[in-house]
């Protein structure tokens, strides 16, 4: 295995599996789903060594693969991982498997196309996390939109076409400006050294004038902020979440949103540190608005999926706030929040999917007293809900605590406002839970609900394990991400310090002309 192109296998195996599933005969949705779930399981197993084979303290990226791709413009096929991307990749493979398993009975029509698209999406997500070449990254980043767009648009709810097109256009509008910024980086680098490249590690070394940084940072930040999504660019999210099929919502919440924060950690922050110093407080402010706004709006939602969607806006605000604190605790907390949000919100969407499959409604008002009818379901719901609130002992607590700690060390008011977000999240979640699960059974249709089947229990089992494990013993995770985050922080800080004194390189001709002018004056 030592020399096998492991990351490439991880990226392209799902794609190959997707092609196989897509070409299976139409008459056999069962085989299609068996093959697809099997492929996702294999992918998960193959990705698991990322956990123990990763050497967290090793400098730079690991398992690197670098091949010439388009030499004429200097683009390389360059993959590699560090602690951050390795854990996000693990989150991706786990989520995809769980989402596929959870969708077994939900998707009836056009099953093989559905499974093929989910697998293709997985390939795109992993490629995005592994890419260390900006052009390659951008290709995966945007190509990934296509399967997600189709998943929402074909298998979604009533307003699925609207939601799918909105999702696509929003994300694309943000990312084309990032493309211009990438091209600008590429040209600057080529003008300075003569050899074109899109390699991230080279760009980490490249000086950039602060004014140039500002515009490039803005372009990157908008692209990532739409994906996170940050207030006020979040409006695509509730639509997409509500209309998407359960598996789509789960993947969207658990992985796609993380691409935004990941983009900040990997690209926007270390590449443009001076711009970050200027814009950071503003972004933190917007993140705080998002935390409170998301929580308040979530409180009044009548629809379960919408409630979870707005809670995502709030939680991802925490992740952004932690990054902007620019210290070890904040960044680690942000990373933990990303992972926690992936697990908890993914589980929440699955839970909503379970009742939706049985009742074909997601309105809170249509439920009530579920504990008496479906106790196992309700117990799992309780745990997941509490982890989403951030109860100590569950994963949510660790992330939020670290984010608030980091924010406190940076700006005390940030921490105060963020803490109100925690309180508000308890309000909307507990209130929702009370209306759905406690009290008498208010609707007769709910009396006949069946509890979780064995398959569904299997779906939730790994998520519950993760919730408790990450809550009680987060240290192994922190051990893996902390060195990578410290490195990012170090790059950011040293670059910022170097570039304090940055001066535009003066072309030789201009210097001569200036000297000639000076001599002439003398």
């Amino acid at each position: 295995m030592a020399h096998a192109p492991w990351l490439s296998i991880l990226v392209f195996f799902p794609l190959a599996a997707a092609a196989v599933v897509a070409m299976m005969p139409t008459g056999s949705p069962r085989t299609a789903r068996l093959v697809a779930t099997g492929a996702a399981l294999i992918e998960l197993l193959v990705s698991l060594p990322l956990w123990w084979r990763l050497a967290p303290r090793a400098p730079g990226f690991q398992f690197e693969e670098s091949l010439n791709w388009i030499p004429a413009i200097g683009a390389r096929y360059h993959l590699g991982v560090d602690g951050v991307s390795a854990l996000l990749a693990l989150l991706t493979t786990i989520t995809t498997f769980v989402a596929l398993l959870g969708a077994w009975t939900a998707v009836e029509k056009r099953a093989r196309e559905f499974y093929a698209l989910v697998l293709a999406l997985e390939a795109g997500m992993l490629g995005t996390f592994f890419s260390l070449d900006l052009l390659l990254f951008y290709m995966f980043w945007e190509a990934m939109l296509i399967p997600m767009y189709l998943l929402i648009g074909v298998w979604g709810g009533q307003r699925r076409v609207y939601a799918a097109v909105k999702f696509f256009l929003y994300t694309m509008a943000g990312s084309v400006l990032m493309l211009v910024a990438i091209l600008s980086l590429w040209l600057t680098q080529r003008a300075a050294t003569g050899t074109p490249t899109f390699d991230l590690t080279v760009f980490y070394q490249m000086p950039l004038s602060p004014s140039h940084q500002f515009w490039l940072f803005l372009a990157f930040a908008v692209a990532f902020a739409i994906k996170v999504p940050m207030f006020p660019l979040h409006t695509w999210l509730p639509d997409a979440h509500v209309e998407a099929p359960t598996a789509g919502s789960v993947i969207l919440a658990a992985v796609l949103l993380k691409m935004g924060t990941y983009g900040f950690v990997r690209f926007a922050m270390p590449l443009f540190p001076n711009a970050l110093q200027v814009c950071g407080p503003w972004i933190a402010g917007i993140a705080l608005v998002g935390i409170v706004y998301g929580a308040l709006v979530a409180m009044v939602q009548p629809d379960l999926k919408k409630l979870v969607a707005y809670s995502s806006v709030s939680h991802m605000g925490f992740a952004m706030l932690g990054l902007m604190a620019l210290n070890a605790q904040g960044m680690a907390g942000s990373m933990m929040t990303m992972l926690n949000h992936g697990v908890s919100t993914g589980a929440l969407f699955l839970l909503v999917g379970v009742v939706y499959e049985r009742r074909h409604t997601r309105l809170i008002a249509d439920f009530g007293g579920l504990w008496k009818v479906v106790p196992v379901y309700s117990a799992i719901f309780l745990v997941v809900m509490l982890s989403s609130i951030g109860l100590p002992g569950t994963n949510g607590f660790v992330g939020e605590f670290l984010v608030i700690l980091g924010a406190f060390r940076h700006q005390i008011p940030w921490a105060v406002i963020a803490a109100t977000g925690v309180v508000l999240s308890a309000c909307y979640m507990l209130w929702m839970f009370q209306r759905v699960v406690f009290g008498p059974v208010t609707h007769d249709e709910n009396r006949g609900l069946t509890d979780l089947s064995l398959r569904e229990k299997l779906v939730f089992a790994p998520l519950l394990v993760l919730i408790f494990w990450m809550g009680v013993a987060p240290q192994p995770i922190l051990d893996r991400v902390q060195p990578a985050l410290d490195r990012t922080l170090a790059i950011t800080e040293t670059r910022a310090a170097q570039l304090e004194h940055f001066r535009e390189p003066v072309p030789a001709g201009a210097r001569l002309a200036a000297r000639a002018a000076g001599e002439g004056a003398r």
Binding site: A72, A143, G153, V161, V165, V180, L187
Partner: protein, 488 residues
């Protein structure tokens, strides 16, 4: 006799091979009409494929040679080779797309293929000309053939209307071009591009109204052919009325030929005064993209939609032309090549829709097609996302190279931003096609798909090219750069 002379002759003959092969092919086709055709045969198509294949082969034989033929009027250089191969590919794909379409719409006559060949011949002459007079010759040969092809469905009113409109406006544009050539000749004393460039480099005549008006008129003539705003009015009507196979052919071929000639004139003759025409080109590029994309949003007829989209794509290529220099020109060449494949592919899909003589080309006709005809659906989706410039397709690489070239000029930064935002707008209408394909159920009777093996082959070839150049564009980009750097 020295050893060099016969070699020279051979190279010249091979270099003229495409012209000879296509002329012979067209003549054979016309003669064949005297013999009554067999019921199920398609000799016209076969002869055309042979002629196109022969010309591609001939030019490949001497791909690395450089020659100036007929006293410098006709040149054989890497750009000629590149465009000759591109036009042959466009011709072959168009013949394959026409194969069954012309049979089912009852326009299967040898003249159809003869005109197609002479039109390809005109395109090659345009790209290979180093003299304004020969450029005009090629342009007229191409245009006259196209006028007739657009009106080939004689029994249909809209086809007649389209041909008449295209002809009348095209005749005007030809007049402009010719007058512009005359004025340029008056200003510089030559029609040969190289000499004109040398003349302008040593004695700039920027104050000379003759030069300015002449250049403007020449540019207008080309702008008409490539459908740039404000000379785009004919496009939607001509595209809609023409037989679908012809629409695909002209949308790819005529545009590429117009740009090939424009690039040669721009680089060779007007290169020394480039700084003067860049702002004008930038504004026209901006208008072309924006008008094309915004108008395409409102179309329900796919042929009209693709017509406006082709206007927008002319705008993207103009961005590259405005960027200028070898890199901008190479980006334009690259973009034209990938655009030809994806656009021809999309039109070939359209040729399959409908039964007998009728065409079903409304967006709503595609409803549910993606699941009933998976291959057709996937192909159309790939062509649409490629036209929208989304990875991993060739259209995306085209946009990268075009905007990367333009971004090198700081004064064109606004144009690049406008360009990428335009591509977001365009994605909206390209997505409408995929929405129809996968997310709508057909109302009433679903559209009949007339499968034909030749058209399926054309779609597969276009699909392969679109995807291949999307993930591995190094070779094509190198060829495009060589074609510009080796310009004679």
């Amino acid at each position: 006799m020295t050893a060099g002379a016969p070699v020279l002759l051979r190279v010249d003959l091979w270099a003229l091979g495409p012209v000879i092969a296509l002329t012979l092919g067209a003549l054979v086709l016309l003669l064949l009409e005297l013999v009554p055709p067999r019921e199920r045969g398609n000799r016209g198509g076969i002869v055309s494929l042979l002629a196109l294949g022969a010309s591609a082969w001939a030019v490949l034989r001497v791909a690395h040679a450089k020659r100036s033929i007929f006293g410098g009027m006709f040149v054989h250089d890497p750009m000629t080779v590149f465009f000759t191969l591109l036009f042959c590919a466009i011709g072959i794909l168009s013949v394959l797309a026409s194969w069954d379409y012309v049979k089912r719409t009852r326009i299967n006559q040898a003249e159809y293929y003869a005109l197609l060949l002479s039109s390809v011949l005109g395109m090659i002459v345009m790209a290979a000309s180093n003299d304004l007079v020969t450029i005009f010759l090629g342009l007229e040969l191409m245009s006259l053939s196209l006028y007739v092809m657009v009106g080939f469905r004689r029994t249909r009113l809209d086809s007649n209307e389209a041909a008449l409109k295209y002809f009348l406006l095209g005749a005007f544009a030809s007049g402009f071009l010719l007058y512009g050539i005359a004025l340029l000749y008056g200003a510089t004393g030559t029609t040969q591009l190289g000499r004109m460039g040398a003349f302008l480099a040593y004695s700039p005549l920027l104050q000379n109204p003759l030069l300015l008006v002449g250049a403007l008129l020449v540019f207008s003539g080309f702008a008409f052919k490539v459908a740039a705003v404000p000379f785009h009015m004919w496009t939607p009507d001509a595209y809609e009325g023409a037989p679908t196979s012809v629409t695909g052919f002209m949308s790819a071929g005529a545009k590429a030929a117009g740009f090939a000639a424009l690039l040669r004139v721009g680089l060779r003759a007007l290169g020394p005064v480039q700084a003067d025409w860049t702002p004008l080109l930038a504004v026209i590029a901006f208008l072309t993209m924006t008008v094309g994309n915004l108008t395409a949003l409102l179309q329900n007829n796919l042929k009209r939609m693709l017509a406006y989209s082709s206007i927008a794509h002319a705008g993207y290529v103009l961005v590259a032309v405005a960027a200028g220099g070898p890199e901008g020109a190479a980006a334009a060449v690259f973009y034209l090549a990938v655009y030809s494949f994806m656009n021809l592919g999309a039109f070939t899909v359209l040729t399959m829709l409908g039964e007998g003589r009728d065409e079903r080309v409304l967006v709503s006709d595609l409803a549910g097609l993606g699941f009933r005809q998976p291959l057709l659906g996937i192909a159309m989706t790939v062509f649409m996302i490629s036209l929208g410039g989304i990875p991993p397709t060739a259209g995306f690489m085209g946009k990268i190279l075009v905007f990367g070239a333009a971004l090198q000029k700081p004064e064109l930064g606004w144009l690049v931003i406008a360009g990428v935002l335009n591509s977001v707008v365009s994605v909206f209408y390209y997505l409408r096609v995929t929405v129809a394909l996968y997310m709508r159920e057909p109302e009433g009777e679903p559209v009949h798909v007339s499968w034909g093996p030749a058209a399926a082959l054309a779609i597969l070839l276009a699909l392969a090219a679109t995807l291949y150049f999307g993930v591995q564009s190094h070779g094509l980009w190198q060829q495009a750069k060589d074609s510009i750097n080796g310009l004679l």
